[in-house]
Symmetry: C2
Amino acid sequence: MSQKTKAEPRGFQITLADIARKLGVSKVTVSKALRGHPDISRETVKKIKAIARELGYYPNFMARNLSSQKSNTIGVIVPKIAHHFFASVIEGIYDAAFQHNYEIILTVSQENAERELQHVNSLLSMRVDGLILSLSQQTKDYTVFHTIRKKGIPLTFMDRVPKLDGFNTVVADDRAGAFTAIEHAINIGYRNIAHLGGYQHTNIGIERSQGFLDAMKRHDVPVNREWIIYGGFDETDGYKGFMKLHETGRMPEVIFAVTFPVALGVYRAAEELGMKIPRDVDILCFGNSGLNQFLAPPMSYVDQPTYELGRRALEVTLENLQQGELFVPQHIKLPTHLVLCKTCTKKVAGTRKVRSLQV
Amino acid sequence: MSQKTKAEPRGFQITLADIARKLGVSKVTVSKALRGHPDISRETVKKIKAIARELGYYPNFMARNLSSQKSNTIGVIVPKIAHHFFASVIEGIYDAAFQHNYEIILTVSQENAERELQHVNSLLSMRVDGLILSLSQQTKDYTVFHTIRKKGIPLTFMDRVPKLDGFNTVVADDRAGAFTAIEHAINIGYRNIAHLGGYQHTNIGIERSQGFLDAMKRHDVPVNREWIIYGGFDETDGYKGFMKLHETGRMPEVIFAVTFPVALGVYRAAEELGMKIPRDVDILCFGNSGLNQFLAPPMSYVDQPTYELGRRALEVTLENLQQGELFVPQHIKLPTHLVLCKTCTKKVAGTRKVRSLQV
DNA sequence: GTGAAAGCGCTAACAA
DNA sequence: TTGTTAGCGCTTTCAC
């Protein structure tokens, strides 16, 4: 600690200076050589790279980023990770980032607004070059997003987007997807259609429910108010929703669930009540689990381009970054498509009697 | 750009100096105030914090870490993310990290050794304080890990661990888990037991197969060589494996699948061949999907403490970090437990005849 | 209680 | 082709 000014926090971290000293050149030469700067002769580059490898040199990104004023890093915040949807989106983000030579810093809000905010702060402190964000269900306060914009940092909302101008958005066409699904149900002859919708303060909840209503209206199918139940996006919401439907004493022919987990809740509830899908009640849902074909029965669903959502989110963020001031916020909407498995493929049970059951 | 030396890369990034200038104090005072250093009077702290907020100040971690020589960051590398197992492990890691006030940088190798290495390099360059790594299936070259050790950076292997000394490992007790599963199958009367095993160059493949063999031996159940098929860990491996079993013309009574996806492959193959589970062939597997109860029939499985694996991995990494030189590498093995659903709960089909089928 | 000086490891601009 | 000089924004002594 006396003459060697180099701190040794733990172990050994080789620096440019170490390499330079060893070769009797300057740090700059080494720096340039290592980064493939054309200034340096192939000879020296070779020597320098050899020594660097030998010494186990890893450039210090902290220092590099600090002086170059960019981090080559995109921050990502998602509400959940152990969900097929997000896991797949994230894979898309990672792959695209890898291709463009960007690093991803992924954080998870656990559907908690406070945690989300902390992550935003962290990421801003890390000086990420851009941000991809899928809102938590709780998020009400949008003020950070405005300060982000003021700072000129590209921010792309994905899937769960706020009603806010000036940011990029990448979403699936939820409304059209729901519309197509319901239209299909109607086409095969159903008219008693229930809807287990999600939170109506989030765009996906609103859009999917709207798609449902649009289709009903378009085809003059009467909407039974008792058959529209708004809840959350999870399995328990589906379970409770189904139980509520059941309590009404009039079961619909088919249920449109706002998410895959909600549909699972329906499966579970139906099982408990001894009702068979699709015989006693049919079902269709928005979203997928990757395990769809193994359900009993395999459920038809609206497929979302999850991986692609991730890719596009990253790419638009990078475009924004490159174009800077000139950039006009993009709003990308990717098409969904209906995948038919075993449920909701043909009308079941004819004009079956409405079951009236006691609870 | 003339007198204001401050670079403005994009937008405005407030610095300590900005706050200091505005208040007529020094940078040091501001720095200390913001970090809650006891030196500064409550008065000034208050003022400084107010201005900081007003200006939208975010401390620059790059700079902070550079000068403090630590990043408060743990790097994580996993082979996959869109898998229930890893997604859940990661959630455990994140939660624990959040609690300890550490940031996670997550990277995904996509089961690709080359990508894995690149990520290791990146993370080392980011000067993560520690590393948690679950090996890709391909990884053969362990030299980086030695250089990591030389640098004194804590490295914890999780689930997919190499045969290497001097690193922390956190795994489920695969061998005991498999043993218990097979013992159960034997206890309920099965003797014709097949095993779809995984790669035998990875610890989890080896351990689970060994658990199978141990149990067979312990209970004097003859092992049919044709009924042990080693493949990979994915659904297609299960599918192919089942087809191979089928081709032998002698089907076992029950199959023990090395992973959940492998078991899914069995479900699919059985379905295609018109064989009913568990009537025609029974099944049991290692691992879970979170959707187990919705399979037809719900499959019994060996449950792994996924979330806990993540937590422990993070915690042991942090301990290692704190204790530094003094630390002795830990090897943590968490217990699994058998979860019985609808398969493999009682011997099916009595002493049913061995089916001989043409392919 | 506050601040001046030095330096973290690197890069960018400009010389030589 | 190589090197010099200044920082990047922050923290850490150590003096006042």
